[in-house]
């Protein structure tokens, strides 16, 4: 299945770092998120976009993971030439991840 079927996401930015929260619609899927969404998987999924490192914070009581991806915004919002300089679209891209 796609991550989109069990979770919702939101992106933010801090300097050259992209922050992405991943939140299970149903708490019973949280363990699956923890198992499938490792920092390594995130780096693979965002290959060519985020150089890393990627850090992950778990909030089981919210059914949520919070990711901080370093070196992910082409130098940072205020300097980047990218169309989506904030990387706001990255959370939507994450939803296309195949998980099982």
């Amino acid at each position: 299945m796609l991550l989109r079927d069990i979770a919702h996401t939101r992106t933010g930015d801090k300097g050259n770092r992209s922050t992405i929260s991943v939140i299970a619609y149903d708490r019973q899927h949280f363990e699956m998120l923890e198992r499938c969404l490792t920092p390594e998987i995130m780096l693979t999924h965002f290959k060519g976009i985020a150089k890393g490192p990627v850090y992950r914070y778990s909030l089981p009581q919210l059914g949520a993971l919070n990711f901080v991806m370093h070196n992910a915004l082409v130098g940072g919002v205020t300097r980047s030439l990218a169309l989506d300089a904030h990387g706001k679209c990255l959370s939507a891209k994450l939803l296309s991840l195949e998980i099982e």
């Binding site: 919702h8 939140i23 919210l62």
Partner: protein, 453 residues
């Protein structure tokens, strides 16, 4: 008997935010405080440039419109307004509010202006060797290009203003959550070293600071996350108890929704490590927060805490960083992608011939690879938009770039249309840490210009 809950509304989440939802809150929210958070990272630097052109400006461009809209309801109901719309010129912003108040007939209205976030002079005099965060540079490396330097003040800086009888409190750079924490500290007499309580107050501020981002804005995904009546989306308000317990809600007749899902997205928005959300007043800890749906569009947030505040304040530096020239052109129909790619190749070759090859550049096809790169399977789109952006040294160079894109009309592939071009000066930001002791805040009460401690 338990003290009555304090009602705080969010009237804006960024400088350009919509005004009608703020007016609805002012009229129907029975608010004690209405807070307008309007400063993104770069906003003050841009406002500073405006102030250099015109010393009477440099505050939020929508200040006048916002105050005209909400002052009548706020004055009628005794709702105080707190805002960082002062940007690079809080004093002039304060005078502007007085002027509007007089026009509206509120001759008794008072404004408290909070100064001291502008630390450019101190920085230039004493901190040139200080390191810039997340780089290997020091302040000296960008000294000649500096436009602004503003410290993120805490709620503490707003307290003297709250202790006056000012109806409107206006500042420059203040940490966003502190705009909401300050009235809580003032109203409930929270101690400035009660870290767990301040952590709860920071959470209230963090939940509200982006306004509609917690009531269903930036949330809708049809079929997955549906938001009722998004067109008439309302802004949030918080009901906060003396112990820092909070319920986030919205007006019943506004659009949008307040759910555990919307609140979770906002709680985690841009906080990085949830155990250490660094703020001027406290290091907040959101890692144990629980969110409970206690009614329709009512979510209770419990369990925030905090630890000792940092000894330093974050200072954001705005500096000139060259110019960007950006041009776009669309291609549609059969072969759209190939013609768009040819357009990029042609402009790239012409710019290289003109000596622009060394500049940082983007050659994107919007609709194919402009946002996520070449990470999705290639397809044949019905239409694409060629986008070329270069960072160059001067305005003239940026103009050369955009004219090369526009020239695709008569000198590029077939059937290009809808050319656009823009030239802008880049104001980049960097950050450094400054000891608290180097930063001195000040409060002025208008119209008398009475200075408070």
């Amino acid at each position: 008997m338990a003290q009555k809950a304090l009602r705080i509304g969010a009237g804006a989440g960024y400088a350009g935010d919509r005004i009608p939802p703020a007016l609805a809150l002012a009229e129907k929210g029975q608010l004690d405080y209405l807070v307008f958070e309007c400063l993104a990272e770069r906003t003050i630097a841009l406002a500073q440039l405006e102030k250099i052109q015109n010393p009477m400006r440099g505050f939020d461009p929508l200040l006048t419109a916002r105050m005209k809209a909400v002052l009548p309801a706020c004055m009628a109901q005794g709702t105080r307004i707190i805002t960082n719309m002062g940007a690079a010129n809080p004093l002039q912003a304060g005078k502007e509010v007085l002027k509007i108040a007089k026009e509206l007939g509120f001759h008794q209205l008072k404004v408290a202006v909070v100064l001291g976030d502008d630390v450019l002079a101190t920085l230039q005099a004493e901190y040139l060797s200080a390191p810039l965060m997340d780089t290997t540079q020091t302040v000296a490396d960008i000294q000649a290009l500096l436009v602004s330097a503003n410290a993120y003040l805490g709620a503490e800086a707003l307290l003297p203003a709250l202790q006056t009888d000012a109806h409107v409190i206006i500042s420059g750079r203040v940490a966003d959550p502190a705009l909401f924490l300050a009235p809580l500290m003032h109203h409930f007499q929270w101690r400035a070293d009660d870290w767990p309580l301040l952590g709860k107050g920071v959470m209230v501020g963090h939940l509200l600071e982006c306004a509609a981002q917690i009531t269903g804005g930036y949330f809708a995904d049809p079929g997955y996350k549906d938001v009722p009546n998004l067109a008439q989306l309302g802004y949030p308000l918080a009901e906060v108890s003396a112990g820092g317990d909070v319920i986030i809600t919205k007006l019943a007749d506004d659009g949008g929704c307040v759910t555990v899902q919307t609140c979770t997205e906002q709680l985690l928005y841009e906080i990085e490590d949830p155990t250490q959300y660094l703020q001027p007043d406290v290091v907040a800890d959101f890692s144990k927060v629980q969110l409970v749906q206690v009614g329709l569009d009512r979510v209770q947030a419990l369990g925030a805490s905090g630890t000792t505040r940092p000894d330093t304040l974050k200072v954001t530096l705005g500096y000139r960083d060259g110019f960007v020239g950006e041009g776009q052109m669309s291609y549609a129909g059969p072969g759209a992608k190939a013609r768009g790619q040819l357009a990029l190749d042609v402009v790239k070759a012409r710019l290289a011939d003109a000596g622009y090859g060394q500049f940082e550049a983007r050659y994107d096809l919007i609709g194919v690879n402009a946002i996520l790169g070449d990470t999705l399977p290639a397809n044949e789109p019905a239409e694409v938009r060629a986008r070329i952006a270069l960072r160059v040294g001067t305005q003239a160079q940026a103009l050369h770039v955009v004219n090369e894109v526009e020239a695709l009309y008569t000198n590029g592939p077939a059937s290009g249309g809808g050319a656009s071009k823009s030239v802008r000066e880049v104001i980049a930001v960097a950050s450094m840490l400054m000891p608290r002791s180097a930063i001195h805040t000040q409060t002025l009460l208008l119209p008398d210009s009475e200075e408070l401690a």
